[in-house]
């Protein structure tokens, strides 16, 4: 048993650091580290920088232009980019629709869709959830009726992250209303510019516009945009659950936020001394660091198992549960650390422009919004309750 990285892996880490040092624009990392909102062009700009280096799609095989990294390398890359304050690589194209197209799509679909996903020339969003289909996703109602060489799609998708920027949406749609609910679903790729699609923002409790409702009203979709077989969409959606969930623990991101928490707690004062020296607060920080340390080892155990050819399996669900709980605790502690200055709501502080009349440092003005925004962590990607159902069924056999 050796928990140390090999010299080759350490050398790889140094390469990633050197690259970040040289290529990650400080203005971008400042925004990320200060919890400011990123615009479309910033996500795209960063992915293009990675694309030039051949690192835009850490999880892709070399055949499709991925770097062909091992699971350990992927994990090192994720940690280093998170610690450096690089914008996250959005998963919708790279890690969600692309693996489905690679595994189940036609040759034409691979050629049409994969290259622009890699080069950040198309922006994808995910059309899964509906107003009546959240955790019970298979009860979705959006209809796709075949008419000649088109499907006519009508329905409503919701919680669609960053759909306001999207060129394409991958949708789960019902193609056979007679079949059992999981068996009548198909996986469709839809151009967001098609007539009949409208996007309405949903403003979340932190004032952010991240998610949207997407309405589909008699949208004409060519049949060649069906992925795989009709009525097999649920299988493809489930495939994604078992695939490419490295990074789900969010350890790198957690470490970055923990470092930030310590930094903020060193600047903030209690009784005239740095808050980090207050025994009560400090022990909360210490407690969460210990839990993150333990999670990092759990994550590495899963990564090492995958590296040795074992399937990631439902253990990833445990990583999701613990990882999101730990990060939420860190966001909570940051909010606690800034004291009453968590209260002022100056949305400008969250934007690039900043705000001229700021009453407190940016880290204080963003603390509460970030805390509220990240309540999403335990809800999205399969709520933590659903993850527990998965572990219960798949690992425990209950």
């Amino acid at each position: 048993m050796d928990i140390n990285f090999t010299p080759e892996e350490e050398a790889f880490r140094n390469d990633v650091r050197a690259f970040l040092n040289e290529k990650l624009p400080p203005a971008l990392s400042d925004k990320v580290l200060n919890h400011k909102h990123l615009g479309k062009e910033e996500f795209v700009r960063w992915q293009k920088i990675l694309y030039e280096k051949g690192w835009a799609a850490p999880g892709w095989p070399e055949k499709y232009g991925g770097p062909g990294w091992t699971p350990v390398q992927k994990s090192i890359f994720e940690e280093e980019t998170a610690l450096a304050g690089a914008p996250p690589l959005l998963p919708f194209g790279l890690a969600m629709v692309a693996p489905v197209i690679m595994n189940f799509g036609s040759e034409e679909q691979k050629q049409q869709f994969l290259p622009p996903i890699l080069s950040a020339d198309t922006w994808w969003c995910q059309g899964y959830s509906e107003p009546g289909a959240g955790s019970d996703l298979a009860s979705l109602k959006t209809r796709a009726e075949r008419q000649g060489d088109h499907y006519i799609v009508s329905g409503q998708k919701t919680w669609t992250t960053l759909a306001q920027h999207a060129d394409w949406i991958f949708c789960l749609v019902r193609t056979d209303p007679q079949a059992k609910k999981q068996e009548g679903i198909s996986f469709l790729l839809i151009d967001m510019n098609t007539p009949g699609i409208s996007v309405r923002p949903i403003i979340t409790l932190d004032g952010a516009h991240e998610v949207n409702e997407v309405f589909l009203d008699n949208v004409k979709v060519p049949v060649e945009n069906l992925v795989g077989e009709e009525n097999k969409g649920w299988t493809y959606a489930k495939f994604l659950l078992g695939h490419e969930r490295s990074g789900i623990a969010g350890v790198g991101r957690g470490k970055m936020e923990l470092r930030r928490l310590k930094d903020i707690a060193s600047r903030e004062k209690k009784n005239g001394r740095p808050l980090i020296e207050d025994p009560t607060f400090r022990s909360k920080v210490a407690q969460i660091e210990m839990e993150l340390d333990a999670l990092e080892m759990t994550d590495l155990r899963v990564i090492a198992a995958v590296q040795h050819g074992q399937a990631p399996g439902p253990e990833a669900s445990m990583l999701k549960i613990k990882g999101t709980e730990i990060r939420q605790e860190i966001y909570h502690l940051i909010r606690q650390a800034v004291g009453p200055y968590a209260l002022p709501f100056q949305p400008g502080a969250l934007s690039e422009a900043g705000t001229d009349d700021a009453v407190a440092p940016d880290y204080a003005l963003t603390a509460a919004a970030t805390y509220f925004n990240n309540r999403k962590l335990t809800i999205f990607g399969g709520s933590n309750e659903i993850q527990k159902n998965i572990v219960s069924k798949m690992i425990l056999g209950l």
């Binding site: 140390n4 892996e9 920080v285 210990m290 759990t298 990564i303 445990m318 425990l396 209950l398």
Partner: protein, 383 residues
Amino acid sequence: MDFSLTDEQRMLQDTVERLVQDQYGFEQRHSYMQAEEGFTREMWHQLAELGLLGVPFSEELGGFGGGPVETMLVMEAFGKGLVLEPYVASIVTAGQLIGDSGSDAQKEAILEPLISGELLLAFAHGEPDNRYSDTQVSSRAERSSGGYVLSGHKAVVLHGDSADKLVVSARTGGDTMDADGISLFLIDATAQGVSIQGYPTIDGLHAAEVRLDRVQVGEDALIGQDGKAADLIELTQDRGAFAVCAEAVGAMTVACDLTLDYLKQRKQFGVAIGTFQSVQHRMVEMRMELEQARSATMKAAAKLAGNDVAERRRAVSTAKNQVGRGGRFVSEQSIQLHGGIGMTEEYNLAHYAKRIAMIDNQFGDADAHLDRFSSHMTVPKEL
């Protein structure tokens, strides 16, 4: 990075697990407990014959040449059987202390009979008022002609009632709270002035109050340097904490397995209670705590093997804190999910639940290790 075991480690693990499986059934364990010392010498000799008593000692000292990973494998398997023998007291703590820091004469006198199972040790550091402190020592060792005179009260000394010799901490200088001035002595349990009041512990082991009333020892009883034992005591306590973490991981594994089996068998309202979601989620949470405890213990093994003291402190404290909190959760919830049967003396789960919970009261509880981690936590000056 590689979490797999070497062939040798796998063989060691097989050996201990087979022993536990074959000879540590519930009834068997119960019968061993009836012995006066709380365990049988036959089993101890068997551990010696299998080479287990030599695991952490170097080959030149007559041992197996194992490190913390090997100790972890042994202790985890012991935890699965709730093994009663004084392995932590004799081998992991006091034994390794002599192996590392004993004089040549002490090593010669102790290690061979220790490893062959003829001699038992105990680590007598705790005192009625010192909780889990490494350095709060009020027992005193006064210099006298040709040696020292020891007086004091050593509290809850694990297996102190079966030990032939005791490793005792006592102050040769400084005040009760000082890190400096603490010394370690190797004394006979039967020396004049030593009185030992043994008792069973609630989790099936034995411990003792050891009272020292003007116990005379020679110069040769001193272990290491006079007044400089603080680091050695801390390392020894870390080893003890780590060993019981591994034991807890083994015991938590069994507690989770027993509970899961029960959830599949026990029927209420006409169905297995494992079909209820509130019960399922609790069981998932128990397994998560087990995996977190296992991970933290593995990291502690790696850091105990290394040379960085600060990293060792943080990793051992992380493990003991995770085991303390997660162990409590598994212990309590395994009883809860079993219902009344989980509270009965005649059912094995209760014995696992007891040992897992009580491990928190040894070598520093979750709060003590939170404090220690907190005081050794790094805080970067600025981003």
